[in-house]
Symmetry: C2
């Protein structure tokens, strides 16, 4: 199997070379180059051919060979091919592998088509044994030869032989004993001793042999590189990143150049722009007299890259030209490794550089203006990932690895530190004393709302991501961890196993990760780069007309945040959240407890007055943009106190008449499965005055805004529909309310699509509805029969760990079943009413992984929480770009 020969093992018959010299790879198409030679081999080939940069001679054993090796072992003809390739290197360098006088030394590096930094292994200075080391010493100097030999022994022992001992520590201790700064300062005698020690450690390991024969060193190193593809770290990394495990790695063998050669030698790593901030100047490290591994190991004090140009002006200028060439070619910030050997610059590697979120945003926007690159706006937007945004947007804890005392569900993102209080009264008193407070409860109920409004964060032991605590906390942007099941909550302390946290103790909760720690942690405020707005504006340009992004907002404050964050409307205004505030709760309870029609009407009217003011506030903020108001959805028991507490009070004889009335009502409204009980439009049919009151309050607000010269645009949405007549009657009430307040024409009235039946009967519903809004949370619950409150804490993790589900369907849309129901809802809805507007207002509307699926289903707009708006705007643009130009994905990292 010689270089450039067809690979006979390839059953598809595609002609693919098994070994390619980087200076002969010009004929391969870029994609093919990357697939066969890996990122590293491909970039070397590019530099050696197209860019004519000084690259040491090298060849690549292709990924084809790796795949063959991994499935059937060492290919019989690979030895022959390898010998021929080594001969090619010898010809190019004028040295011979194993030549006792002037030996050719090699590096052996892995490199897959997709970057997996640090995940696989490298052998350096290959070709040395006692004989060639002596020859090298003769041709150069002894310290350099021995230092190189030590490096070879160490890397071969670690990578190929998997020696268990801590070899870096053996080297470090030799350095300490010698009283020098670096291992390459060791005297030849000490180096010889160190090499002997290392070789002894290898000899002591059963079955381990360090071959003297350079070709045998090469064979075993290549095999080790291939094996590292299946190493634990690499497999785990691929699983996490979703990289196909079948593609295999290439292996590049390159003639060594020596930064450790002498004082006019050295190695460096440089980024064409600052990878932390994105500022447009090269940034990096240089280490004189060292090999590249010394620069990146972090164990040596490196010089800033600017010093390199100072020390070696000529080479510095040559490097700057190379960097410019590379950035213009890659059209992106690059990460470049170089070595200077006796004054000669060699570029060893180039790849597109990793960067922080802030840098990604700044670089992408700057490259649009850069005349050498002229990135398109679409390319700039495509390069920003949701992770980049997350980095710049969320407040987090400074350290990320503080040991946690327990862990729950990250229910409302953000970091909070405060003193733990386990009762609403205790929490409020503490806040009034000026303390920062974390409210810790088994679960929360409307009676806790007064405390929830003033604390720094909320921790509950029960309930999932749609529990009362989670929903309220997200609404107010208060960090919240819920469903931390190991926490046992009492009135004056809580316990996690043996740990007892007493009232007033400080704890920290991370609402993003779900982590709970004892004591206070340092919080890092996020810094949003000014270029973000530019990127998001471009994203909106791209998505506009295909996928609009609105926000979920229930109050004027939320609406203002949402508008500020770029929402083009409110897609979900939940009227129940208005009812939950401490001053409204008594009015709602009065309505629920009303024993006469008059009392009910009076309570409804008071609620109506209050709601009208709320609506006016929201419509004022959103003037000129659509606001979709969902009429009351949750079951009534959510507005009542916890029945368990009432029952206990009753048993103790502590229940006053109001408490007794509440208990009776709570008993009456208690449901076995409230999620599938009397809520949404069902409640409206039981209490026909309710929706009419809400609609009237809303439309009165519209009239008031119009009178004030505003431009209010409302849409009304009926929740939890299952049948056409059920929807039609509710819509009639809304239209009657419009007539009642003297509106000329009623605003659009639509329906939520939340039940599988609504999705399947979308054709019928479209006969009545002016628009659809898919409630993907409830639809997911019903499609799986998964109650979020119950399954997420209990068995979701186990299901994901065992692979029983691909992913948590509440986090990312279930493509198969829920996705099909969304498809059917859109198709059947538009079949009955062409052009029907369809939105999505579940969690998935803010999830970048779900958004392309929703676009594919034909959805017109998304509505997500204000905090997810930037992510959703970006993801919407990405989804539209993917759809518009298939394969455009290669622009995205």
């Amino acid at each position: 199997m010689g270089q450039g020969q067809p690979d006979n093992d390839n059953p598809g018959g595609i002609v693919a070379p098994s070994i390619v010299f980087i200076d002969e790879a010009g004929s391969l198409a870029p994609d093919q180059k990357r697939a066969l030679m890996g990122g590293k081999g491909a970039s070397l080939a590019l530099m050696a051919t197209t860019l004519s940069l000084p690259v040491p001679p090298a060849f690549t054993i292709t990924t084809e060979v790796c795949r063959s090796y991994l499935s059937s072992g060492w290919p019989p003809d690979l030895d022959e091919g390898l010998r021929a390739a080594v001969a090619g290197l010898e010809e190019r360098t004028g040295r011979r592998l194993g030549d006792p006088d002037n030996p050719l030394l090699l590096s052996v590096r892995s490199g897959a088509a997709i970057s997996m930094p640090g995940m696989m292994d490298t052998v350096l200075n290959l070709g040395l044994n006692s004989e060639t080391t002596a020859g090298l010493a003769g041709a150069t100097d002894e310290r350099f030869a021995l230092d190189s030999h030590r490096r070879f022994v160490q890397s071969y022992a670690e990578v190929v032989l998997r020696v268990a001992a801590d070899l870096p520590e053996v080297v470090a201790s030799a350095v300490r004993e010698a009283g020098v700064d670096h291992e390459f300062d060791l005297e030849p005698g000490m180096l010889s001793e160190l090499i002997a020690d290392l070789r002894q450690i290898v000899a002591d390991q059963p079955g381990a042999t360090l071959p003297d024969d350079p070709f045998e060193q090469l064979r075993t190193s290549v095999a080790a590189v291939f094996d590292s593809w299946m190493g634990e770290r690499a497999v785990e990394y691929r699983r996490r990143e979703g990289i196909d495990g079948d593609i295999g790695t290439a292996c590049t063998i390159q003639a060594m150049v020596f930064g450790n050669r002498d004082d006019s030698s050295g190695s460096g790593v440089v980024f064409t722009r600052d990878p932390a901030t994105g500022e447009n100047h090269s940034t990096g490290d240089y280490l004189p007299g060292a090999q590249g591994e010394d620069v990146v190991s972090g164990t040596h004090a490196t010089l800033p890259i600017d010093d390199f140009s100072r020390l070696m002006p000529e080479q510095g200028a040559e490097l700057d030209r190379a960097l410019e060439l590379l950035e213009d070619h890659y059209r992106d910030m690059c990460d470049v490794e170089f070595t200077v050997e006796q004054g000669h610059l060699h570029i060893l590697q180039c790849r597109v550089g990793k960067r922080t979120g802030a840098a990604a945003i700044r670089i992408a926007s700057q490259l649009v203006e850069d005349p050498g690159v002229s990135l398109t706006r679409a390319e700039a937007v495509a390069r920003i990932t949701p992770d980049h945004l997350s980095q710049v947007l969320h407040v987090g804890f400074a350290e990320t690895d503080t040991p946690e005392v327990t862990h729950g569900l990250g229910a409302s993102p953000g970091a909070a530190v405060g003193r733990a209080y386990m009762t609403t009264e205790g929490a409020i008193d503490a806040v009034e004393r000026g303390e920062q407070v974390i409210l810790v409860r088994r679960e929360t109920s409307p009676d806790d709302v007064a405390a929830m409004a003033v604390v720094e964060g909320i921790l509950t032991s029960h309930g999932g991501l749609v529990s009362h605590a989670a929903v309220v906390a997200r609404g107010w942007g208060t960090p919240c961890v819920c469903g931390a099941e190991q926490v046992e909550v009492a009135d004056d302390h809580f316990r996690v196993g043996d740990v007892v946290v007493t009232e007033g103790d400080t704890i920290s909760i991370d609402g993003t990760t779900g982590s709970v720690t004892l004591g206070g942690r340092g919080v890092v405020e996020s810094v949003v780069p000014p270029e973000l707005d530019l990127i998001l504006d471009w994203a909106d340009e791209i998505a506009s007309g295909n996928l609009a992004v609105r926000a979920n907002a229930d109050t004027a404050e939320d609406a203002a945040t949402a508008r500020e964050a770029g929402a083009v409307g409110i897609g979900l205004c939940r009227t129940e959240h208005m009812f939950l505030s401490p001053d409204r709760l008594p009015l709602v309870r009065a309505m629920i407890l009303a024993e006469t029609a008059e009392a009910e009407t009076e309570a409804l009217e008071q609620l109506g007055t209050a709601q009208q003011a709320d609506f006016e506030g929201i419509l004022d903020v959103m003037d000129g943009l659509p606001v979709t108001v969902r009429l009351l959805d949750p079951p009534l028991h959510e507005f009542l106190p916890d029945i368990g507490d009432l029952v206990v009070d009753e048993a103790r004889g502590d229940l006053d008449p109001e408490g007794q009335a509440l208990l009776k009502s709570a008993r009456y409204w208690t449901e076995v499965n409230p999620m599938m009980g009397t809520r949404g439009v069902r409640l409206a049919h039981l209490r026909p005055g309710l929706y009419r009151m809400q609609a009237k309050a809303l439309f009165s607000a519209v009239m008031a805004r119009c009178a004030a010269g505003g431009d209010p645009l409302v849409e009304v949405m009926i929740p939890l529909t299952v049948s056409g007549p059920e929807l039609a009657l509710a819509i009639e009430w809304v239209r009657e309310a419009a007539a009642d307040v003297g509106m000329g024409e009623a605003p659009p009235v639509g329906t939520m699509i939340e039940t599988p039946r609504a999705a399947l009967l979308a054709g019928d519903l479209a006969g009545h509805a002016d628009f659809f809004s898919v409630g993907s949370n409830d639809l997911t619950q019903l499609t799986f029969g998964f109650s979020r409150d119950d399954v997420e804490g209990r068995f979701m993790d186990l299901y994901l760990d065992r692979g029983l589900l691909d992913h948590n369907p509440f986090e990312h849309l279930d493509d198969a079943a829920v996705g099909e129901l969304v498809d059917l809802a859109v198709q059947r809805g538009r079949g009955a009413k062409p052009g029907l507007k369809v939105g999505v207002c579940g969690e998935h509307a803010g999830d970048p992984r779900s958004i392309p699926r929703l676009l594919a289903a034909g959805v017109d707009y998304l509505s997500c929480s204000p905090a997810r708006l930037p992510t959703a705007r970006l993801a919407a643009a990405h989804a539209v770009l993917e759809t518009a130009t298939p394969g455009r994905g290669s622009l995205r990292r």
Copy 2:
């Protein structure tokens, strides 16, 4: 628009006569005859032509005319047609309408294509006024003429003029005053006074006029008959029976014959067989000197029909010949009205007779053997309705209209009378004292099971048809009413509004209708006719190969009942019900409370031993027939005491250590929406020993039965699946258990299709499952987002009343959405695995209205509760017949 002329109003251009003489209707096809002339007109036409029976001359105004009248008012040319038709009658009878000497009198009767007995109106003796009455008196006798006049005035006043007064009471009081038995015994003078009184009542009603002109009498009577089609009673009847309201009624005008003419006259009604028992002899009533209305009014003491043959042997023989002819023609038992006028027999009407369930069964089976009829077995089966079966199978209360004190859901059919006890202890003590007891609870829990096992009936105020009470009661065949929401239960009494029922008071509950009454009611045991087995065997013959009927049975006793009732296997054996018996509950709780793996294993082993014995019992009973065992399904909290009671005990300090452990566990396992929580295969993944234990117990039972020479055929079913891997792992446990006990090959393992996702992903699931069983209850719950426990008592009635849903989808399968999911499950399942066996084991499997839809979906077998087996076997045959020969529906009444 004359008789026999084309109806120009018919936009479709179909030539349809608007008026048809019964003796000229021979050219109409039977279906057309019935559609145009109604059932009554068609039968008269048949008798007058084909059968040559003595029928008084008549013509029918067709349903076409009625439809035209109802949409556009009295047709302009109808007067002319009516006059021509009357002329035809005059020609046939030799009398003239309005002739003062010998007047022609008419009856005007409604009659739709579909029988609506008693729902519409009739005017008799039309044509009389003072002048023609005098003429009639002259031609016959005065008493007869006046009696006929009185009848005309009364029927016209009631039917056409809708006089509000109680005219029958006016007549009855005149009879009482005269001291005679019957109104036709009144002397002419008294009759004249009575007529004057009746006419005065008419005159007193504003706007009411009784025309003297006979043709005007006729016109207004025809209009009244047409109007009666839209009368409240008729509309309500059609709504209930699902009859199309657009078809309209025909109106038949017939020359009167007079059973009240003299002593050699009379009227009778006769059934060709006994409509109560089905015995093969004619049965009926005869009333000398009376018109037909007197016979059926129930106000006169009639003679048995045998007396008619005795009184008038010649006419009796003629009638017998007519009855035989009619039964042979209709191929069914007939209901015949006749009148003898002065020795001349006239047949006035014939229709297929209504009958009891027992009679229907006996008659259908006998007609198969009857040489004159030779009914096919398929026809016989098709004629038995689910109502017929219900009549012969269920124990019920004697009277059906006892006023109820409240009403709940009929959760387990049957009637029960007993003393009310509100606590489990109270109920058990009372049973031990020898009392019959009804247990009354808010809801039941496993702690009530000991009482539930010994009481006559169960009444709960909360929970629906799948509540604990309902499920346990149905399992044991104990009558149960649940979800009687108005009932407020305390420890020593219960209250319904102002009514207080104290412990020990007797109440009656009807588990079929949901009715609750105070005091004891008489119970009627059902009598099953021996021919039922024959009919059901024929039904099985018909359905066999298309739709098998199995039963749901959880115990050997249930299995025996099911096998006895004709089940060809068990389609659903719920293993949780075995766990609920009082002696197993401690074992289950030990498993739940186990704090160590050893304790859990020990508890599982004890349960396994107990289950094995249960399984052996069932397999013994079902030897040679398949038994499908569903592994544990319900959430664990169902096996724990009520948390509310425990909390109260805790607050009172009454909780012992075991109680505390139970409370802790109950708290842990409490779920917000248990229906969508940790149950089914999810529970199995949390407690991996559970399914393996159950499968091992089952397979050990199989091995034991085999060793004993039996032929056990088991199938194992995994509940609540949502994904392929989830199912695959559970199936693996079952197969491992089979290997553990040394079975050569594991029995079939299938999955329930209960979640919408399972239905949509049926293709994936079929890759793992050997069969499917659709759990249509849960599938309905999730498709609608309707928790049965919550919606049925709360808003289902309201939804049905307001037409927001066509029907309760838990009673009859929702064709649209749930039906589509069943279709998809079958199609996709068989797409992946051709020939995949699919069963249904929800309530719908026993519902005659749902069964045709399930057959259409392609289902192979049904599995229903043993009590519904006869109905399901019959409905399966009906469904197969409908499918095999479309239009066969006309065989069914």
